[in-house]
Symmetry: none
Subunit: 181 residues, 4 copies
DNA sequence: CTCTAATCGAGACGGTACGTCGCGTCTTACG
DNA sequence: CGTAAGACGCGACGTACCGTCTCGATTAGAG
C-alpha cells in the first residue's frame, strides 16, 4: 500500500529531527543537518515535507493528539487531578521525545500547535463554559502554563516524580480553571 | 556625553523594530527591513547590535524592568489582585508596544527574557518559598501563563476592560501561587 | 563525466570575465558584474572559484600553457627570432582575449602568473644556463619586457604587422639573452 | 611657507605607507592601517590625499624624478653601461624604500607611473629616435624589464653586488636599445 | 520473474539574508 | 575654534541555507 521506502525515509527523518531538536536550538537546525543525520539525500527531504517546521509538526501531531485524547476525558469529568496525573505519566514515559519538543528551541512552535488543535477540539465539542471565560483564553493559559512547567520539569532530570509534578500542575494550572467561578 | 548621532540611530532602530514586530511575524523581519524602515544604512545596524534579537531585547529590557518593578511589591505583599491590576493597566496604557512584544512572533523570545530576568531577581532577593515550590518553576508558570493571556487579550482589540482582565489573570495565574500550599 | 551544468557555468564565467577585463580596469570589475554578465547566480560563482583573480588565472592558464609550449622549442633551439614570430602570430590570431589579459588592469596578475609558470617549467627542465645568469632573473626580464611590449602593441590597434613586432621583440627582449655572454 | 604641521603629517604618512608596502601586499594595506601606523587621525588622511594610491604616487614621484634625472644624461650620451651603474648604485643605497616600491604589491602602479613620467619627458625632449622605434615602445620595454629585474635583485637579499647587477641590466635591457638598428 | 514506474542519492543552481570590511563624507565632542 | 575621533551611508565581499532542478542508479510491487 504505502511504499516501504517512503515509510523508512519518514521514520529516519522523524528520528533525526527529534535527536537534533533535543540537542540544540531548533532554529539553528538546518534541513541539511536533518538529512545528513537521517542518512538520506538532501532533495529527498522536500519530496516528503515542505520544510523542517512541517516535519516537526508532523512528528508532534501524533503525540499531541494522543495526549489531548488522554487528558480530555478526565478534564471534562472535572477530574483535573486525574488529567494532570495522566499527562505527567504520559510525558514521563516518553521523556526523550517530550524533552525534544518542549525543552528545546521548538517549544514555541509546539505550544502554538497545541493551542490551535486544542481550540479546534473545544470548538468542535461546543462545550459549555461554566467559568464564563472564553475557551480560547483558558486554553492559551492552560497550554502555556503546562508546557512551560513540563519544560522545566524535563530540564531538571529525573529528580521529581511524576506524581508530585502532577500535583503541582493541577494546583497551579488546571484546578484554578474549575474552581471558583 | 553620548554622541547625539548614536542616540538618534538607536531611537530610529527601536521605533522600526517595534513597528515591524507589530505588523508581522518577527522571524520574517530582516535586518534590512529594519534599517530601511529606520532610514539608516544596513551596515550601521551592526555597529549597534549584533543582530535583530539583541535589538529587540534591548528595546524590551526597559519595559520588562519597569513592569517587574511595578508588580513585585504588590506580589510580595501577597496582594496578587493588586499586582494583576497594576500589570493590566500598565499594559493597557502601552498597547501598541506590548502588542508588538507579546502578540507577534517575538513572544517566545520575550517570555524567555522575562523568565531569565525574573529568576535573576528572585535569586537576588532570596525570597522565602511559602509554597514549598522552586522559585524557577513558579516563575516559568507565572510568566508563561501571563504572557499567553496578555497576548490573547491584546489580540482581541479593546473588547475587555483592564479590570476584568486583571481579575482573570489573578484567578488563573497568580492567586493559585499563593493560595493552598 | 564532468557535469554538463558545470562546464556551461564555467564557460559563461570565462566569457564574461574576458569581456569585462577587455572593456575596463580589471580591479574595478566586481564578482557581481561577472555573474550578471554570465547570467548565473552570484553565490554560484564561489562554488567554482574563490575569487575573480582565480577565475582570471584559470582562463589565462590554458593560454599561457599553450603559448609557452609554442615558444619554448624555438627558444631552446636558440631560434629566438622564430620564437618571437610564433609568439606574435599567436597573439595576433587572438587579439581580443590577449588584449583583455595584457592591456587591461589584469596585466600585473597575468605577468606574475606567467613568471611563476615559466620558472616552474625551467626548473623542471633543468636547462643549462649558457649565459651564466639565474634562470629566474632571465625569465623575469623576458616575461616583463614581452608582456609590456605586447600590451603596447595591442593598444595601437592593427597598425603594426606581426612580423615587424616580432623583430622588435626579438631584438629588444629575446636575442640579448642568447647573444654575448 | 609650507605649514610645518602639514609636512610632519605627510612625512609620517610617507614613512607609514612605505613600511606597510614593504612588509605586505600593497593592495591589502588599508587607509586605516596607514593612519594607525602614522599616528594620525583617519579623516586627516583625506585632507592630504584622495586615497592611498595617490599617497604612494606622491612618495614615489620624488624618487622616480631623481632616478630619471640620474640616468638620462648617461643614457642620452649613449653610455648605457654608465646609466645602468648609476641606477644600480642609486637603488643599492636605498634598498628599503626601493624594495617597498618594486618588490611589493605596489610594483604595477610604480611601473605604470614610471612609464607615464618617462614618456612625458621623452616627449618633452623630442629626442631623435636613432633606432626607428616609437619612444613609448622603448620606454615600455626598458621600464618593465628594469623594474622586473630590480625587483628580482632586491628580493635576493644582498647576494649580488651593484656592479654585477648593473652589467646584467645593461646587457639585457639597455644596450639592446642602442645597439643594432 | 520480469518490467516499469516510483523513489532514491547526489549535488548544481538561482536566490535571499547574513555579517564584515573598507571607503570617503560629515558631524561632534573636546582640548 | 579648530581638529582628532569616529559615526555614518554605501557597496562589495564571501558564507549559509533555502527550495528547485536534473541526473542516473536502485528497487519495489504489479502483471
Amino acid at each position: 500500500m504505502v511504499d516501504r521506502r517512503i515509510r523508512k525515509t519518514r521514520d529516519a527523518l522523524a528520528e533525526a529531527v527529534l535527536a537534533l531538536a533535543a540537542e540544540r536550538d531548533f532554529a539553528s537546525v538546518t534541513v541539511a543537518d536533518i538529512t545528513r543525520r537521517a542518512g538520506i539525500g538532501y532533495a529527498t527531504f522536500f519530496r516528503h515535507y515542505p520544510g523542517k517546521d512541517e516535519l516537526l509538526a508532523d512528528v508532534a501531531d501524533l503525540l499531541i493528539d494522543e495526549l489531548l485524547g488522554l487528558m480530555l476525558p478526565a478534564f471534562l469529568a472535572d477530574d483535573t487531578a486525574g488529567a494532570s496525573l495522566a499527562l505527567c505519566r504520559f510525558v514521563d514515559a516518553r521523556r526523550p521525545i517530550c524533552r525534544a519538543l518542549l525543552a528545546g528551541g521548538a517549544e514555541g512552535r509546539i505550544r502554538g500547535e497545541m493551542i490551535r488543535r486544542a481550540s479546534a477540539r473545544a470548538l468542535a465539542l461546543d462545550l459549555p463554559q461554566p467559568t464564563g471565560l472564553p475557551a480560547t483564553l483558558i486554553i492559551a493559559h492552560a497550554v502555556s502554563s503546562i508546557t512551560a512547567m513540563l519544560g522545566w520539569w524535563l530540564e531538571q532530570g529525573e529528580t521529581m516524580p511524576a506524581e508530585v509534578m502532577a500535583a503541582v500542575l493541577d494546583r497551579l494550572a488546571l484546578a484554578p480553571i474549575r474552581s471558583g467561578g
